[in-house]
C-alpha cells in the first residue's frame, strides 16, 4: 500500500465524486478524447492493397542463394537439417563432377526440401549455414489450398539464374551476426 501511494496515480482521487454532474464530467472527458482522435491521421493500413514494408531481418519464406557466377552456394553439409527444431528440412548431398558442376566445392545438394507447413520460421537454418546458402526472405504470404504445395523442393527454393532475368536483390546475409559484416562469397 505504501508503495502504491508513492505512485502518481494513487495521489489522484480514487473514487469519483458522487452526483450526476461528476458522472457527466467524466464521461464527457472520455468522449472529448475520442472526438479529438477522430481528426488525427488514420493509422489503418488498407491491406492487401497497401502493405507494411518488410524489415531486412525478416524471417519469411526461404530461398537458396547462388554465387555471383550462378553456382549454388549450398554444399550439402546438412547443418541446417540437424539444427532445425521442427525437423522440416530433408536433403541429400552428392559429389560434383567435371561434367556436372553445381557448386564450387566438392559436394553439392542433390535433393533439398523444406516442408514450410512444419517450419516455425525460427531462422536457425540461416543462422548455422556456414556458406550463407539458405536465407529466410521477406515473403510472408504464401498460403495455399493444398498442403502438398508447402513442400518446397530445390527448384522452387533456388533463386533464378541471372541469365533468365534479374537476380533478386540479395539480403544482407551477415546482418544478423552481431558484427554486421557482410558474408564474403566463397570462391
Amino acid at each position: 500500500m505504501a508503495d502504491l501511494l508513492k505512485c502518481p496515480l494513487a495521489e489522484r482521487e480514487r473514487v469519483v465524486g458522487k452526483g450526476r454532474a461528476q458522472v457527466i464530467i467524466e464521461l464527457t472527458k472520455g468522449f472529448w478524447l475520442t472526438l479529438r482522435r477522430l481528426f488525427s491521421a488514420p493509422i489503418t493500413i488498407q491491406y492487401p492493397e497497401e502493405k507494411r514494408p518488410s524489415v531486412p531481418r525478416a524471417r519469411g519464406l526461404h530461398r537458396l542463394e547462388r554465387h555471383e557466377n550462378g553456382l549454388e552456394r549450398c554444399i550439402g553439409c546438412g547443418l541446417c537439417a540437424a539444427v532445425c527444431p521442427a525437423q522440416c528440412i530433408y536433403l541429400e548431398a552428392a559429389e560434383n563432377t567435371e561434367e556436372a558442376r553445381y557448386s564450387p566445392g566438392e559436394r553439392y545438394c542433390r535433393i533439398y526440401e523444406i516442408n514450410e507447413f512444419r517450419c516455425i520460421f525460427c531462422g536457425y537454418c540461416e543462422e548455422v549455414c556456414p556458406v550463407d546458402a539458405i536465407i529466410l526472405g521477406p515473403q510472408m504470404e504464401f498460403s495455399k489450398g493444398n498442403p502438398k504445395d508447402f513442400i518446397y523442393n530445390k527448384e522452387r527454393l533456388l533463386v533464378p539464374l541471372k541469365s533468365k532475368g534479374e537476380l533478386p536483390a540479395s539480403k544482407d546475409a551477415g546482418s544478423r551476426s552481431s558484427s554486421g559484416l557482410v558474408a564474403s562469397p566463397m570462391s
Binding site: M1, A2, D3, L4, K6, C7, P8, L9, A10, R12, E13, V15, V16, Q22, V23, E26, L27, K29, G30, L33, T34, R37, I43, V55, P56, R57, A58, R59, C77, G78, L79, A82, V83, P85, I120, F121, C122, G123, Y124, E127, V128, P130, D132, L136, G174, S175, R176, S177, S178, S179, G180, L181, A183, S184, M186
Partner: protein, 390 residues
C-alpha cells in the same frame, strides 16, 4: 410451490471472453454462480515433453509458443535457467538489452490485457487505442528479430544478434510518446463511472487467499502483497535501476487494473534508464562450447568451424544437475525447472506457468457472483491458455 433447480451453463471453449479455449462449467442458480469448474487442456501441445527430445538450443523456439503474449520473458526464463546450469556469464550489453525487451514485452502484454478487458466490459475505444500502441512494440521486435511475436531473440549465452541501426531511436520515440498514451487510457477508464461500477469491489481477493492460490505478479500485488521477483531476487540489471512496485489495497478487479496501469508507466521508466546506460560491446558470450562463433570467424578459422559443426549437430552437454530460475513475467512468476543428466538434451523441463495458477483461482473468485461479473473477473486475472495447457 414451483420446483427450482440449478442450471449448468458452459462458458467456452469458444467464447470470446475466455481469452482462448478455456471452458468454464458454471452451475447457475438464476444469475448467481453456485459452482464453477474450469476445464483445461484444449490447447495441450506437449511442449514440455517435446523439449526432452531437443537440444537446449532447439528448445528456445518452443518457449515462445507457450505464452504467446510474453514470448520474451519465456525465452529469458529458459535461457537464463540454462545459463545458470552452465555457470555462463552474459555480456553486460546483452543483459541491458534483455531488460529493455522484457519491459517492452510487459507493456505489450498489459496492453493486450487492457484492450480485451475493456472490450469485454463494453468499452471498445481503449481496445483500438491499446492495440495501435502495441503495434509499435511489435514493430520494434520485428526490426531486431525478424518476427513480430515468436521472437526467440534471447539465446543461451546472449542474444540472437545485436540491435540493428536505428532501433534505439525508434525505441526512444516510443517511450517518449507512451506515457501520454497511458494518460489517454486512464482518461477513458480510471474515473469512468461505468468502468468503476463494473470493476470496483468486484472479485475481491485478499492477500492471504492470493498466497493460498500461489498467485504471483500483478494479481498478487493487487491483493496487497508486495512481491516482485525483480525486487526480491534481482536478476539481469534490475538492482541497478530505480522503479517502483505498485501494490493494491483491496484486491478487486479495479486494483488489478490500477496495478497494471502503473506497471506500464514504471516499465517505460525502466526502459528509459536502461537505454541511457546501454553499454557497448558484444551481445554474446565468447564461450565456443556453448555459443555459435561469429559467421565470419568460421570462414577463417578451422577450430571455430569445428566448434560450429559440433554445436549445430549435437549442441552442448551441461553438467548433470538441476536448476530452477524464474523471472517476473507480465502475468507473474515465469519459471523453468530443468533437470540435466549430462546429455545434450534436458532430461526434464518443467514450466512454472503463472497462467495456470491464475486460472486455478477463478472458481474461488467467481463462486457466488453474478454472471456479468464472471466476465469482469475472469478477464482481470489475465491468463494465456497456451501456457496453461502447454
Amino acid at each position: 410451490m414451483a420446483q427450482t433447480d440449478t442450471m449448468i451453463l458452459n462458458m467456452g471453449p469458444q467464447h470470446p471472453s475466455t481469452h482462448g479455449v478455456l471452458r468454464l462449467e458454471l452451475e447457475l442458480d438464476g444469475e448467481i454462480v453456485v459452482k464453477a469448474t474450469p476445464h483445461i487442456g484444449y490447447l495441450h501441445t506437449g511442449f514440455e515433453k517435446n523439449m526432452e527430445y531437443k537440444t537446449y538450443h532447439q528448445c528456445i523456439p518452443y518457449t515462445d509458443r507457450m505464452d504467446y503474449l510474453s514470448t520474451v520473458s519465456n525465452n529469458l526464463a529458459f535461457t537464463m535457467a540454462v545459463e545458470k546450469l552452465l555457470g555462463l556469464e552474459v555480456p553486460p550489453r546483452a543483459q541491458c538489452i534483455r531488460v529493455i525487451w522484457a519491459e517492452l514485452n510487459r507493456i505489450g502484454s498489459h496492453l493486450v490485457w487492457l484492450a480485451t478487458q475493456a472490450l469485454e466490459l463494453g468499452a471498445a475505444t481503449p481496445f483500438l487505442y491499446a492495440f495501435s500502441e502495441r503495434e509499435k512494440i511489435l514493430d520494434l521486435f520485428e526490426m531486431a528479430s525478424g518476427v513480430r511475436m515468436m521472437t526467440s531473440y534471447s539465446r543461451i549465452g546472449g542474444l540472437m544478434a545485436d540491435l540493428p541501426a536505428g532501433w534505439i531511436e525508434k525505441l526512444a520515440e516510443f517511450i517518449r510518446e507512451f506515457p501520454a498514451r497511458v494518460d489517454e487510457y486512464e482518461t477513458l477508464l480510471t474515473k469512468n463511472p461505468i468502468w468503476l461500477k463494473r470493476t470496483k469491489g468486484v472479485g475481491v481477493l485478499s492477500g492471504a487467499d492470493a498466497l493460498r492460490y500461489s498467485l504471483s505478479g500483478p494479481n498478487l500485488r493487487a491483493s496487497g502483497v508486495n512481491w516482485d521477483i525483480r525486487k526480491q531476487s534481482p536478476y539481469l540489471l534490475y538492482d541497478q535501476f530505480d522503479f517502483r512496485v505498485p501494490v493494491g489495497e483491496v484486491g478487486d478487479t479495479y486494483d488489478r487494473y490500477l496495478v497494471r496501469m502503473i506497471e506500464m508507466r514504471e516499465s517505460t521508466r525502466l526502459i528509459d534508464q536502461a537505454v541511457r546506460v546501454l553499454p557497448a560491446g558484444p551481445v554474446r558470450s565468447d564461450n565456443p562450447k556453448v555459443v555459435f562463433p561469429e559467421k565470419e570467424r568460421i570462414k577463417e578459422s578451422m577450430e571455430d568451424l569445428i566448434h560450429h559443426f559440433k554445436l549445430a549437430t549435437e549442441g552442448f552437454s551441461p553438467p548433470a544437475g538441476e536448476v530452477y530460475f524464474s523471472v517476473e513475467g507480465p502475468r507473474g512468476e515465469m519459471g523453468y525447472y530443468i533437470v540435466s543428466n549430462g546429455s545434450n538434451m534436458p532430461w526434464r523441463v518443467r514450466v512454472r506457468p503463472p497462467s495456470f495458477l491464475n486460472v486455478q483461482a477463478i472458481p474461488f473468485l467467481i463462486s457466488g457472483k453474478m454472471v456479468p461479473d464472471v466476465i469482469a473477473i475472469v478477464g482481470s486475472v489475465d491468463f494465456v491458455l497456451g501456457e496453461v495447457d502447454r
